[in-house]
Subunit: 598 residues, 2 copies
């Protein structure tokens, strides 16, 4: 049935929504695809729902090709399974919790590992039942602190989440690869450029994890890539550890007065003014050959406060080269599931050995941080602080620093941590050259969970030898609504949206442009014939709307193929208008139909 604009539920807006920060949000609202209901919560109007259904159709198709079966879980789930795996607590403020009339705890699920695991446990008992991949396309909820960018970071969003179940590691690898391949096909069909980056697997207890990032300047994720093919998000980037330096013959540490130098910049200036120029032997590899002191010669000791799941607070000092900063995302992953913040004044007051601005691992009276620490506070080092590197750093005495302080001789950490920022030019860990930084938006995630959930929830099967073995799982997510927004973000111009044919809300947009009866007669018949040949037609039959307004609406709505039925209608001619290229061509009605069908 031809959809008539005179009756269709669509109103385009002239004004951008006041809260729209990004193009996709602005255009999807203006063109009548979505409408805000609450912060980060949207209603889908008919156009938006049609595009969403097409994306879901492509995903279903490729999930089926990957041998996965569709199921559907409730959004409202009881607390118990999430309690067992510890996620009820871990989610913190990030989820919506509620109670039923009897006081029982529920959540609106942000992801479904637990209940998929329990479902399979419920029904399966033998290795013969495996492998299994099942998925759902479902509305999920996260109570984002700052919902923003329209559909790109909402509090209600649609995801495809798949879960695989195997009883061997090789099986998991194969299931993982099948989903990964399906994702590549899905994004190719959606015309959505992507980079597969290594992601941190640790927080969820798994072994292998990759993200599909759509490279875009409005992306929330920073990732690094090398010309040689390495790609990872910054959380997963691992520092290349330099060789250690023989300790023999290195100069002894020297304490020096450094009044009013609580920052790296003031310390460097002071050092250049008062110390001898650096010798090759007094600094780490990164600074070899330097003729002046720089931030890279200094060791910056940052005090972080961790809040553990049990509510306890722990101070940790992280020593990183002074020319880098603590990276919030890397540090979050490094210390997960604890929450991390900068230490407060109150923390410093409780620990008088930590002399703010002059903190170091060593003091004239002994080790303040690290092995045999006087504070009892853990001291973790950047992986670049290898044995033999020498540093200018705090002397744990107000207004005093120390230089030629050598790691592995004068001080020791309690371990290493990936906390420092990654920079363009850093070497890729796989030896494929220097990395560059780029921004991307996560559109998919494949994840080898391993046995964490199966272990916690008791999902075991009998193997070939009749022995109970714990199942190993994968988890695979695609953000349906986020993909839709990304496609919109990528396919538009100043006039409006330009959908790829595979997800366009209609195949053809027919515009009756004129007031003559013949215009409407021809447009009517053309629309009917196109629809009869299997195309989905939006027909702008509004009788009293000017051609200019109709063209503007067509451009805003963004159906890729437009047909204008105007003055030429009397001669049996119409105009084919390619929304993407802007090309317009006058052809006979019959030819227009033939070309649109093709």
């Amino acid at each position: 049935m031809v959809t008539r604009l005179s009756h269709f539920f669509l109103r385009t807006l002239r004004e951008d929504p006041a809260d729209a920060e990004v193009t996709s949000h602005r255009l999807l609202v203006r063109a009548g695809y979505i409408r805000r209901q609450a912060p980060g919560v949207f209603a889908w109007l008919p156009l938006g729902l049609k595009v969403k259904a097409k994306i879901e159709g492509i995903i279903r198709d490729e999930m089926s090709n990957a041998g996965a079966y569709e199921v559907h879980f409730p959004a409202l789930l009881p607390r118990e399974p999430y309690e067992i795996t510890g996620r009820w607590e871990e989610y913190g403020d990030g989820i919506f919790r509620l109670k039923d009339r009897k006081g029982a705890d529920y959540l609106l699920a942000p992801t479904h590992e637990e209940v998929f695991t329990l479902l399979v446990k419920d029904l399966y008992s033998s290795y013969k039942d495996l492998p299994l991949s099942i998925y759902q396309i479902q509305d999920k909820y996260r109570d984002e602190a700052r919902p923003r960018a329209g559909l790109l970071r909402g509090r209600e969003f649609t995801m495809k989440d798949a879960y695989s179940f195997d009883y061997t590691d090789e099986g998991l690898d194969a299931s993982y690869q099948a989903q990964r391949d399906a994702y590549e096909r899905i994004f190719a069909r959606l015309g959505l450029e992507f980079v597969i980056v290594q992601a941190d697997a640790g927080a969820m207890g798994g072994s292998r994890s990759e993200e599909f990032l759509h490279p875009t300047a409005i992306g929330e994720d920073t990732f690094v890539r090398s010309a040689g093919g390495y790609a990872a998000n910054v959380e997963a980037f691992t520092t290349v550890v330099p060789d250690s330096i023989p300790l023999e013959g290195l100069p002894a540490p020297v304490i020096f007065d450094s009044p009013n130098t609580p920052t790296i910049a003031t310390l460097v200036a002071h050092s250049n003014a008062h110390l001898d120029a650096p010798a090759d032997s007094v600094a780490g590899p990164a600074t070899t050959g330097a003729t002046e002191w720089s931030a890279a010669h200094t060791l910056k000791n940052v005090v972080l406060a961790l809040t553990h799941l049990d509510g306890s607070r722990e101070l940790v000092v992280v020593g990183i080269p002074g020319d880098r900063d603590i990276d919030d995302k890397r540090v979050e992953v490094a210390f997960a599931p604890a929450e991390v913040e900068q230490a407060t004044e109150a923390d410093f007051e409780k620990h008088p050995l930590l002399v703010k601005g002059y903190i170091g691992p060593w003091s004239p009276t002994g080790a303040v941080l690290g092995e045999e620490s006087a504070t009892g506070i853990r001291f973790l080092l950047d992986p670049r602080v290898v044995d033999g590197t020498a540093w200018i750093t705090g002397a744990n005495v107000d207004q005093k620093h120390v230089h030629s302080l050598v790691a592995g001789r004068d001080f020791f950490g309690d371990g290493f941590v990936e906390a420092a920022s990654v920079r363009a030019g850093d070497p890729a860990p796989d030896g494929s050259g220097e990395v560059e930084l780029a921004r991307g938006m996560e559109i998919g995630h494949v994840f080898q969970l391993g046995r964490k959930y199966a272990e916690a929830l008791g999902l075991k099967v009998l193997d070939e030898n009749g022995k109970l073995v714990t199942v190993t799982m994968g988890s695979y997510g695609i953000g349906v609504t986020r993909i839709l927004a990304n496609i919109a973000e990528l396919n538009n111009d100043a006039k409006g949206l330009i959908w790829p044919a595979s997800v366009a809300p209609f195949d053809v947009h027919v515009v009756a442009a004129g007031r003559d009866g013949v215009v409407f007669e021809v447009a009517e018949q053309l629309s009917a014939e196109l629809e009869a040949s299997g195309l989905d037609v939006l027909y702008d039959d509004r009788p009293k709307v000017s051609p200019g307004v109709k063209f503007g609406d067509a451009e805003l709505v963004g159906v890729p193929q437009i047909v204008i039925v105007g003055r030429g209608a009397t001669d049996g001619q119409v105009e084919l208008w390619d929304r993407r290229t802007g090309d317009r061509e006058v052809v006979a009605v019959a030819e227009a139909i033939a070309r649109l069908r093709a």
Copy 2:
């Protein structure tokens, strides 16, 4: 792609689920369609999801034929719109409420009138935009006190809810009729018998309301119908009011001792033992000609306690003929949105004028109930208590009753109320004869809301004369998951489910029954050919499962057409098995394919 049972996510169960009260629940769980997650909350397994999708497809199709457009609202909605219409309070414990991290109130919407109204208000402004009908198919939530019967009364359930918008009453009638017609087509296509009954429209402030009930013994709703075509649920049934009786010449009231007669039964026995037999003139029309006193001669005065929305408690006395009871559903509707319960001992203690067991509208010292009441408590009468009817009722004195007490002469109510039970044999209000009572399950509801929501939320449009007029609305619901359960309830036998072809999860179920290679070869090829011709095939290719188990599973799962590929395969013969009739017929493979395609 042929779905292979060796790999498909399906496990049938031998045992009935312990909590299953009804057939549909028992079979849908055992046959692997659904799985319980929490009380009244289910996960959908692949088979169940396929049936659900088919039902939704039929509904979408007919909604489109009715000119309605699909949209989709979030389940998570902010409090404000529901606050404005008063429903945030009215829902009481019946909905799930929650707060976000900022403390703002949200609900999981049980129905969406408010936000549909606001959406149209947002986008529409002129009568030219109307009529409009929009709908969604969406997961809804109600915090049922006692979720039960599987999908029939769940806490999460799928509904199609449509809303119409018009600016004239005639427009609303037409929109209502279009949805009503679509419902008739939908239920016909689903093979689901239905009765359209008048429903109470009052509670939602509307004018016309009808329910589509599926007649079934496990139905929760009682409805009445007459041979002449009247049908209504008991809440909507209106009593036929008898003619009043001239007061002239009626005997005067007489107080009599009635020790130990606090119940109707004891009072009737006492009256027959101690009073003269009833004369025609001393009772209402229902009892004319009686030779003995019966419960119908008595007026039973029941004290109810209403809890109003503002929390205040009000006592009300309802006077009904003693041969009827207070009907909980009718009384609930009659006093909505107040909650109704029986008065407690504490209530009686506060009102010493109400002498329990001997309450009446009149006492020797004056009116206790009704106009000029001494108690201040409202006294509402059954519509049958018309002027001139005479009653035996309490005298407001312990151990005393009064007879020949005449309505409209000796006592007066403060109004009438439809609170008494409906009985088989009662006259239908439309004069179409006596009614009978039957049980049904609500599967659809069409409702003229009128202007209540548009008024509350300010949805107005400019009419032809440039005048702002308030829009009038309709609301139309179909319970998708409830329909599915009803179809299952209606289509089964001792062996399992038997789906109608229109909603069956697969078109054909092919069973390879045997161990010979040729059995699997023929079954394989047959399945592929059927699938290639557009049929959706479930192929039981499990290599080590006995034919008996496979047949049992086929019967349980309930695909209507089964093909058995067994010993005859060597001769190119297979067996067609009609799941519903049980008929089995041996035919050549080619003929099997031809017949299944047809």
